[in-house]
Symmetry: D2
Subunit: 337 residues, 4 copies
C-alpha cells in the first residue's frame, strides 16, 4: 500500500487523478491540494469523484510525507514543487510539461525558463506503451500531453519501421482540454455550436511529439494543428502519413498488431473510432487505413483527453512504477452509452 | 451466483443493465437478447459496456433457463415475455410499465389491452426506498418509470406526513429518455439548442405517480408535464407543493432526514442538484425548500434517467431480491466531472 | 431618422441591439460603447452583427448628443447613466431592471439602493402588448426582463379575466441569459450536459412579474423558479394556473385570441412551442391547454431571451416610441432550421 | 421578377433555399415540393423559414411552368427531374452531385449510373468565385458540394499559382450535413459529445475537388477526410499544402488578396475562423498561414454548410444568372452571437 498525494486536485485532470487513487486497491489517497479552493471538499466541487476529502494548501513539509505524488499543476509552476518532493524522496508523476522534454533549448524556446533547472531532463517519458521498462524503475515520470499520447500511439509503429516520410496531424479536442479556468473561449456561448483551430503553428505539444517520434527512429518536422470542438471530454487525432518508401498493406497491419495486440489500453478497430466510445475510460482506439489511391497511410486515434490523455495515464504509470498490473484501479469503471 | 438474462439489451437501458449484470460480483450475465440487432456483439453496438457477448434472438425455451431476467422491452410487448419467464419459474424485473399499475381500468385507459391479463397486477413496484420488504420477497418486480422514480423520491416524505394539498410536477429529461429508435424528434438537428414540453396532459407516468402517492397516503390528482432538453442523459424533476396544512420548516427537514439518512442512493443537498452531479450513477439527489413568501414547498430531484431511472434501479431491485447489499455492483463506477 | 447610441454594446443583448439599430431603416447607429473592450471593433467581438464600428468608452458629453439611447448596462449601474441621458433630453430604453419596478421598497429589497433616486419609478414598462399607448408617449422605457416577458405574455389574458387563483411558473433559459462574463457556471464543461434550478425562491424577476400581473388585475404572490439548460439562446416558461373560478374552455381560447390575434410578435399554437422555433426572432409563441383532469390551465411560452427577451423587444419599443410599425427592422431576419 | 420553384423544400438545404427565394426582392417563390411531407405547410415543418406555403407533390407539368428551379433532391434522383425541367426551358440550379462532374467514368465510379445521360456534363460548376462568367450564361448550374465549396475557396489561389505540390484536407461538419432523415448516426445520443471520421478514403466530394483544382491548374490526387462533429450547422476545412516550389510569404498573401479583395462572400482573416462566425450567413472566412518551421502552407476555411455550402450559394448563382448583385436577398440576414 503506497500513500499518495495529488497536488492540484481541483482541476479537471487532478480531480480524476484523485478519484482514481482514492478507489485504487493498492494506493491510499493521503492528501489532495488546491490553491484557491483549499478548504473545500473535493466532492463538493467535483461530485462524481465521490472523494470526501478536504482540499489543502500545498505545504511541502506536510505533503512530502507520502510515498508518491501526482502533480497536476501548470507547467513552470510544477517544476519547483516536483523538486521539493524529489528532495524528500517522494516518487513523482508530473502531469505538466516540465519534465517531458530532454533538450533544454527546445524547452526554453517553447516554455521559457525552467523552474527547477537541476532536475531538467530527469523525467522518464510516461507513455507505458513506449517506455514501460524505464518507467518501472523511475522516480520521476513526466506524464505525456494529451495530444502526444494519441499521436504517438498512432504513429509509433510506423516510426519504428522507418515508414514515415512526412506527417500531418490534425487534432480535435473537447473543451475540458482548455482547463477549468473560466475564459472567453471556454464560455458556453462561445464554444457551443463552434469549432476553431487554435495555436496554429505554435502549439507546445509539437516538440514533444517530435522528440518522441525521433526516439522511435523517426526524426521528423511534423505539422500539428489542434482544433477546439464543442464537447466536454474527448480527443481525436487524424494522422496523414506520407510513407518514406513502398510498403505492403499487410506489413502495416502487422506493425500495429505487433505493437498493440497485448496492450491492455490500446485497441485496434477496423473503422475510425469515435471519441464517445472511449469516454471516461483509459482506452486509446486506433484505426489504420492504407489509401491505395493516394498512397497515404491514415491513422485515427481517439482518447479521453482527461483519462488516457492525463489522469488515467498517470495512474497507469503509477501501476508500472509499483509493479502492478496496468489496468489495476482503471478498469471496471465505465459509462454509457 | 445467479444466472441472469437481459432481454432487450440493445436499447439504452438494456445495454446498461447488461453491463451492470456483467460486472456484478454475484450475478452472471447468461444471455443478452435483441430483435433487429441479433447476431451483433453488444460491445460493438455499445462499446463502453465492455460486454463481449453476442445478442441473441429471444427464445423462451433457451432463455428461460436462467435464475432471473431483466426485461427491457416496450410496454405491451413485455407482458407476454414476462409471462413465459414466470411460467418457467424465472424471477423477473420488468422495466416496462406492464406490471406497475394495479388498477386494470387505469392501465387500459392509458396503455390499451394488457398483454398477459392473468399476471396483471402481480408486480411489486420496484422502488426500494418505498417497498424494500415486498421487493425482497418478490418474483416479479415492476421497475418504476424514470419520472415516477424522481417524483416519488421527492414527494414521498411529504405524502406520508399528509402535507401535500396539491402538487405541480415540472419534469425535464435528456434525449435518451426517448429511446434509441431514430425519429424526427431525436434527430440531432431537431433536439440540439431546443427544449419543448411534450405529451402535455397525457404522459403515461401520471397515473403511476398518482398510484404510488396514494399508496403513501396522498390520494391526489397531480399536474405533471415533461419537457425534452438537449442533453443525452439526465432528468430533473421540480415539484411545487401546496401544503395541506400549516407546518414548521424543521418538520419538513425532519421528514426528509428520517426518510433518507440511511438510504445509500438518495442524497439530500442544501442547494438544488444539477443532473451532471449524478450522471451515470444510481444516485438521486434532492433539495427541499420551504418558501416562506409563497408558503409553497419546493422539492427538486435529479437522477440519471438510465440509471436510477431504469437500469441502475433494476439492479438495485435485484440486489434486494437476492439479499445483497443495495450498492453491490453499482458503486465504484463513476465518471467525470 | 433618429440617431441612436447603444451603451454596453459588447454584451450579448447590447450587441444584438446594436445590430438591429444598425440595420434599421429609420434609426442610425451613432455610437456603441463598452467598458473593458473599448477600442475594439464590434464586428471583431461579435462577427455576425456585421457592425463595423469601434466601441467607445462611455462619455456622457459625447454620447448624449443623440436622439435616443438603448442602455444595456447591469442594474444599479444603469440608473446614473440613464439620468445623465435624460437630463440632456435623450429618449431612453433601459434594458436593466432599474426602472421597471414602481414600488421603491420592493426595488430596494430585491436590488438594494437605487442609482438615480430622482428618476425612480419614471419608466414605462416596455411590454408593447400590455402598454403600447404609454410607451408611445414615453421618454424613458424600462425594457422588461426576459422571464417576465414570456410569463406576462402567457398570463396576461387570464389575469385580465380574473381567472388566476394561483400560479406556478417553471422557467428554463439558455446560458446566454447568464451574461458574457466567464464564470464557473458558464464554463462549457459545467453547463454542457447539465441542467439545474437556480436562485430558488429569490430570483429578481419575481416582483416584476407580480407587479405587472397586479396591473392586469391579478394581485398574486407567484411561485417562480428559473432553471439553466444547456443551449445558447432560448427561453421556455411553463405556467401552471389554478383557476379562481369555473370557466369554459372556449372562454379561455377566446381570451387569447382576443389578446393576440392582431399582435405581430405573439403567435398562438396548438401544440407546445419549442425554443428553436423562435430562435433569433422577436416572436413569442404560446400554447394554452385546459386540462380537464386536473382543472388546471397550462400555458407555455417560448422566446429567444436575447431578442423578445431583451434587444428585439427594446427595438420594438423604439418603434412604438417613434410611431413606426412594430415589425420595422425586426422581420426579414431569420434563420434555420 | 422571375418565378421560381424549389423542389425538395422539406429538407434542410431546400427549406433555406425556399426561404431565401421567398424573401428575395427579384424572385417569386411559385412552388415548393416535397415527397413524404406533401400537403404540409413549409412553415409548420420549418418554422423559421416563415414561408406560409403548402408543399406539393412534384408534378413536372405543373411545376415546369416557372422561369427557374432550385432542385434539392438527392443525387441520381435529381437528374431525371432536371431533364424534365430543362426540356420545358426552365433554368435550373441543381444542388445534387449529378451535374458537377464532367468525366462520365468518374461519375459512374463514385455514384453509379447517371439518371439523365443525355444531359451529363452539361452543368456549369456553380462556384461564382471561380466560374462567374460561365454561370451568368448558364441554363443548368451544378451547385457545388459543401466540402468542395470550402476546400476550393481555400485552395484555388494556390492552385492557380502552381504552388500546390500535395495537399491534405481534413474537414469537419455539423450534423445537418447528414440530412434530415433520422438515422442511427444522426440520433442525438449518438452524435452528442462525439466526433468521428467518416467515409475515410471514399467520400464522393473527393473527385469533385480534384476536378476543380485541375481546372485551376493543379491536377492533383488529394487526401480528403471528413469528420462529424456535434453541432447543427457549420463546416471547417483545414488544408495542409506541401508547396511545389519555394515562395515568399508576401507572394501567398498577395494571391489571396488578389483573389478575394472584391469578393462579397469571402473574407480573409488573420486568425483561424470559427464556424460560429459565419453561421447562417453566406460568408466563407479564410485564414492563410505560411509555417516557416515546416515549410507548409495552412489554409482554414469556415462556412455554414447549408448556406454557402448549399442554399445560399444556389441563390448566389441565381443572382449571377439573372444579372443581379450577388448579395441580393442574401445579406441583412444575420444572427447572433
Amino acid at each position: 500500500m503506497a500513500r499518495v498525494a495529488v497536488l492540484g486536485a481541483s482541476g479537471y485532470a487532478g480531480s480524476i487523478a484523485a478519484m482514481l487513487v482514492h478507489r485504487h486497491p493498492f494506493f491510499e489517497l493521503a492528501h489532495v491540494t488546491a490553491r484557491s479552493e483549499a478548504g473545500a471538499r473535493l466532492d463538493d466541487i467535483h461530485p462524481r469523484t465521490r472523494v470526501p476529502m478536504e482540499l489543502e494548501s500545498w505545504d511541502p513539509k506536510v505533503h512530502s510525507g507520502v510515498d508518491a505524488a501526482l502533480v497536476c499543476w501548470p507547467h513552470r509552476a510544477a517544476a519547483p514543487a516536483v523538486a521539493e518532493l524529489r528532495e524528500r524522496g517522494v516518487r513523482v508523476v508530473d502531469l505538466s510539461a516540465d519534465f517531458r522534454l530532454t533538450d533544454r533549448g527546445i524547452y526554453e524556446d517553447w516554455y521559457g525558463a525552467h523552474g527547477a533547472p537541476a532536475l531538467f531532463g530527469q523525467g522518464v517519458y510516461g507513455l507505458p506503451e513506449l517506455h514501460r521498462e524505464r518507467i518501472a524503475g523511475a522516480d520521476l515520470v513526466a506524464n505525456p500531453g494529451c495530444y502526444p499520447t494519441a499521436a504517438l500511439l498512432a504513429l509509433a509503429p510506423l516510426a519504428r519501421a522507418g515508414l514515415i516520410g512526412d506527417v500531418v496531424i490534425d487534432a480535435k479536442s473537447g473543451v475540458s482540454g482548455a482547463g477549468r479556468e473560466p475564459t472567453a473561449a471556454t464560455h458556453y456561448v462561445a464554444a457551443d455550436e463552434n469549432m476553431v483551430p487554435y495555436k496554429v503553428e505554435r502549439h507546445r505539444h509539437t516538440p514533444e511529439i517530435e522528440q518522441e517520434l525521433a526516439g522511435q527512429g523517426a526524426p521528423l518536422t511534423i505539422t500539428f494543428t489542434p482544433h477546439l470542438v464543442p464537447l466536454a471530454q474527448g480527443e481525436l487525432v487524424s494522422c496523414y502519413v506520407t510513407p518514406s518508401r513502398e510498403y505492403a498493406e499487410e506489413e502495416v497491419a502487422g506493425l500495429y498488431d505487433d505493437a498493440y495486440a497485448t496492450e491492455p489500453w490500446v485497441e485496434l478497430r477496423l473503422g475510425p473510432p469515435g471519441v464517445l466510445e472511449v469516454r471516461e475510460t483509459n482506452y486509446c482506439r486506433l484505426s489504420v487505413h492504407c489509401d491505395g489511391r493516394t498512397n497515404r497511410i491514415l491513422v485515427f486515434a481517439s482518447i479521453d483527453n482527461l483519462w488516457k490523455g492525463a489522469a488515467g495515464q498517470a495512474v497507469q504509470c503509477m501501476n508500472v512504477m509499483y509493479g502492478l498490473g496496468e489496468t489495476t484501479g482503471l478498469d471496471g469503471i465505465a459509462m454509457f452509452p
